[in-house]
Symmetry: C2
Subunit: 640 residues, 2 copies
């Protein structure tokens, strides 16, 4: 086996050219065998095998700088830079990051997993090289799907002016995660059809030199053109055509589903893809969302679902996309445009619903601030996967979203605790016209709480009652003066004022809900950490403390009335959030209660870039376990 | 006078064509007269007079949708939509927003002041129109300078696929704020030179129809082509050539300085531009920064200053830019690229220093997170203008920056209290290789504190001493066990351990400095609000409270040792920050101290979009005045 004998790029260079097809075949088998066992990015990695071999034969990494955009196509690169055993030995499968990682190898220049960054990084490295008077090649490899991100354009635009030697390889396989969207792809198609000769050329229009090679999966051909470009003194784009999933029929035939898969059977191509093939599963929030939105679209043609290249996270399979027709828009990898586009839609009376991974909300921070929030436009943003239990790669950590949203004026972020509350929030968000609404879809699984729905605590089907009716809830009258429709046990319905019974649930004002009424300790358990709050309260109850359990529902605004009221009868407040503490929701509570005599204990995780972590372990390291929280509460109670 | 008789676009349509040159001349005079009195965006507004008249003659606003990118070129639009008196009557000068504002007029569709958003907004409005089965024109007007922003590209790319009737007018005056930068401008020049006929065309490469008109300051010519485009059924770019500053010689001759000016003399063109002509003034942070960096560049060719189209904020006049040569880079309006470019530079051993307005850091949130922070690369970012005393337009509020930075792992944000500390922080930031460092340049003016420098309190010229030497500071020994080089009064130098005297100031670890030692009340006054902290402490001292005054220096990390130590002898903590409270720095202190028995009072401003506010009034509304803070502190002390 050739691959076993390769411990560095020098070994690749020493191989006879006629052995290279066998090397490529071995790499391909290793990609398939390891990914079949532990999952991985299949299509993109199979497509760049020949390119990667050619890169390491022509250039001298790490002296020459190879920058892989997104870096989810670097399995072959890793195999050729001393890490082949991680793809050959089943005991080592899954032992590496799925992305480049400077901690793993000097050949990995950046930790990176977001698209469209490579050209700007290459500009910076080339500029540093020139200032230092050094000479080496800087090469960026970027997929066609990543070109639609505005940062890639900014990088290409600036590269022309930088004017120095940089090689940008556009790996054109005709696919983003799903199909490509945008006018630039017509130009790529025109260039493919004309073998690079079409006079109207996006890259030349940006001031860049341009080369075309149709045979991107022919190692010898790629090697020849790279050898010609090595040492070039000005920026050049090499437009290379490859096949996503090359060499494995199931992946080549179904690019979208084989972009990233979980474990699969190589022979049959049978796989369990998470979460795409669960789009139809009504036990996932993807499935629930897709079904809900398609239903709403049929009733109201103003409803538009928008995705930025990840339609499956919101349950939009190809079939649902076809059914939605013009009411579903995939803008490609272009989160900034997606948000500003939603602002334009809302301003003109449509009902945009934009589904984003929490981690990619980051790409559109200014568009949230300036286009949506400053104009207070009623777009609905569904924030998927935001949880400590979400993606565990450092590049894709999805628990910074509340800190991102917390300071945005006019934005209302709602955090449902169950599917019933999620759908009630969707109903409300689509009906209102006042402001942008983010719904933080629980990232730790679907929970159904029909019993809470039935007794009116969480989803009472009534708006807050402002009439001071004489009403009792079980043995308690709670917040009666404030007109809350809170309850305890199963008797809440009886206590609802007749005037407001039957009104839809309202999120017009930030109002927390009391789920269990107690004293001394108030546990405020936000959204996906509501279950943790229940467990903390159960444990306290066993120790003869009777805590109050709140469902705060509002993640970026405070219910000051509820906090003031609770502060009169509770000494210890506990905030539980499935996210980063710094800048998060709990700190807002701590600040609000700072001047009062109560103690506030905030739980979540501290900022950092943990990589491939176990969520329970990470929480334990941050003291966010039932045992640790209960111990802290008991200590705080003793302290008074 | 024609302008006085125009109260709506209908009146513009009724004018005879031969009177239009006079109308344009009147508009131009009104722009100059009002701006000469209260300042304004001169160049861009003078350039689009004819275009604006033509737009309102051809289209029917507000049924037709006119979207002005950045919207700082809308003085003529405002005059023609019922607001002429604000530019004609000196009593009303300055009474309007400098940007479009839906609160002012139904003809203003969005509050907007950031670039590159108009095409995406137009896409959204056109999509909503089509879904509703309505028929109206959607027109976006975007300057050539705004085209370099990635969002504009994402919008254009998606517009082609949207495929419906949208007119994008590229107002090509050949300038950004300063000169344009990027390869796309070569293509615009090629198109200008070929009268739109060059076969390689950026807009056509993005799949868009394209029209060219050289005579953008000829109202009749513009009107003719707009009339042809009205009702078009597909997207089209109209490339229009105009002259920035047209009709006023000083502005046309010096586009950069006349982009935005303060009051000026129309006859002579004499003006007081803030802050550009103060770039050389060593009493501004622009001047201090430019001089410092140029000096550093001459000593170290790895130092690179980077700007995203605002070189003057960091003191880079055309002269300094010329002197810096290849060590100064203006990337144009492309903040995302600027940050990722800095990451590439730092990775390859250069010393990038990126100067950004705080408000525009927002555009690069993900690039901060993913490219700089995840990779912990030692770029230095200078955060200018971030203060309640900064820009007072709702579109450009610059006090959200700390909330933005607070959750970013690995990022160290330093907040200097004076110019001496600022320069010490610059020294340290450029010398270290561990992490990205933001320096929050005070946005409320330059303060010099040589006396604090002399007695070693703020800028002692020594690293924290870890030796437990027996040292006294006046009559007190402070934090001796922690090895702090804190001091009180003028005797600090004597107390410094001999081993560490003379070492450079270190910001290697987050350590607060005690400036005045007291008890009961600890005032933590961050950066530009240090002076407020002094005044609060002075007022408390007059009332026989002896507070401790801290210079926290670190805005995104806590000195837990100092907080723990202070909590043993202080009952009330006060945080003062020149920024938004929600997600800000003070909340981190409140959370950290939440479990302890102390009270924490946080001051700053609450999130919101105040527009054209008085900073002192805004602070008063938020209870952030010396009187209010002292009253709160006394109340909190009584409460124990």
């Amino acid at each position: 086996m050739l691959l076993e004998r390769i411990s560095s790029p020098q070994d690749v260079k020493r191989l006879e050219p006629e052995t290279l097809p066998e090397l490529c075949a071995e790499i391909r088998r290793a990609i398939l065998t390891s990914s079949a066992s532990v999952g991985g990015h299949i299509g993109s990695n199979l497509g760049v095998v020949e390119l990667t071999v050619a890169l390491h034969r022509v250039f001298d990494s790490p002296t020459d700088k190879l920058i892989f955009d997104v870096s989810h196509q670097t399995y072959a690169h890793k195999m050729l830079t001393g890490r082949a055993s991680n793809y050959l030995d089943p005991a080592e499968f899954g032992g590496l990051s799925g992305f480049t990682s400077p901690d793993e190898s000097e050949h990995d220049l950046f930790s990176m997993g977001h698209t469209s960054t490579s050209v700007s990084l290459a500009c910076g490295m080339a500029k540093a090289r020139d200032l230092a008077g050094e000479r080496y090649n800087v090469v960026a490899v970027i997929g066609d799907g990543s070109l639609s991100g505005g940062l890639a354009f900014e990088g290409l635009d600036n590269l022309a002016e930088l004017g120095t030697g940089v090689i940008v390889i556009v790996n054109d396989n005709g696919w983003s995660i799903a199909e490509n969207h945008g006018g630039l792809y017509r130009n790529l198609a025109e260039l493919r059809e004309s073998e690079g000769k079409a006079p109207c050329n996006l890259f030349r229009a940006l001031g860049l030199d341009y080369r075309f090679l149709a045979e991107g999966n022919d190692e010898a051909a790629v090697e020849r053109v790279l050898a010609e470009l090595r040492g070039i003194d000005h920026p050049v784009v090499l437009h290379l055509c490859t096949t996503k999933g090359a060499g494995y029929e199931p992946a080549a035939a179904d690019s979208e589903n084989w972009h990233h898969v979980g474990p699969f059977d190589i022979e049959s191509g049978a796989y369990d893809v998470f979460p795409r093939n669960r789009c139809e599963d009504t036990e996932t929030y993807a499935g629930i969302t897709g079904a809900y939105l398609l239903n709403r679209m049929q009733a109201d043609r103003r409803v538009v679902a928008i995705s930025a290249a990840t339609p499956y996270i919101m349950g939009f399979t190809p079939l649902r996309r076809a059914r939605a027709g013009k009411q579903f828009v995939d803008v490609g990898i272009a989160e900034e445009h997606a948000v500003t586009y939603a602002a334009g839609l809302a301003r003109a009376g449509a009902k945009p619903v934009l589904g984003l991974y929490g981690v990619f909300m980051q790409r559109a921070y200014d568009e949230f601030w300036h286009d949506l929030c400053l104009n207070s436009l009623p777009a609905v943003i569904l924030d998927f996967g935001s949880s400590v239990f979400g993606t565990a790669d450092a590049t894709h950590l999805s628990f910074f979203d509340l800190a991102l949203q917390g300071a945005l004026p006019n934005l209302r972020c709602l955090a449902p605790v169950c599917r019933e509350e999620y759908e009630a929030m969707l109903d409300w968000a689509l009906a209102q016209n006042e402001r942008p609404v983010v719904i933080r879809v629980p990232g730790n699984g679907v929970v159904s709480r029909p019993e809470l729905l039935a007794n009116g605590v969480i989803d009472a089907g009534v708006a807050p009652c402002s009439a001071k009716v004489g009403r009792t809830v079980g043995e308690q009258v709670l917040h009666e003066e404030a007109g809350e429709t809170v309850a305890r046990g199963g008797e809440a319905r009886d206590a609802v004022c007749a005037d407001c019974a039957g009104l839809p649930v309202s999120f017009d004002e930030p109002r927390y809900r009391t789920v269990r009424a107690g004293s001394d300790v108030a546990v405020l358990a936000l959204g996906s950490f509501f279950g943790l709050g229940e467990r903390v309260c159960d444990a306290l109850t066993e120790q003869d403390v009777t805590p109050t359990l709140m469902n705060p529902r509002f993640a970026t605004e405070l219910d000051e009335r509820a906090l003031d009221s609770l502060a009169t009868s509770h000494r210890v407040f506990v905030t539980l959030e499935d996210g980063v503490l710094e800048g998060g929701w709990g700190e807002k509570i701590a600040r609000y209660l700072g001047p009062s005599a109560v103690r506030v204990l905030c739980y979540g995780v501290h900022k950092g870039f943990p990589d491939r972590f176990d969520a329970e372990e990470l929480l334990a390291q941050n003291g966010t376990t039932v045992e640790a929280i209960v111990a802290d509460i008991r200590s705080a109670l003793r302290d008074f």
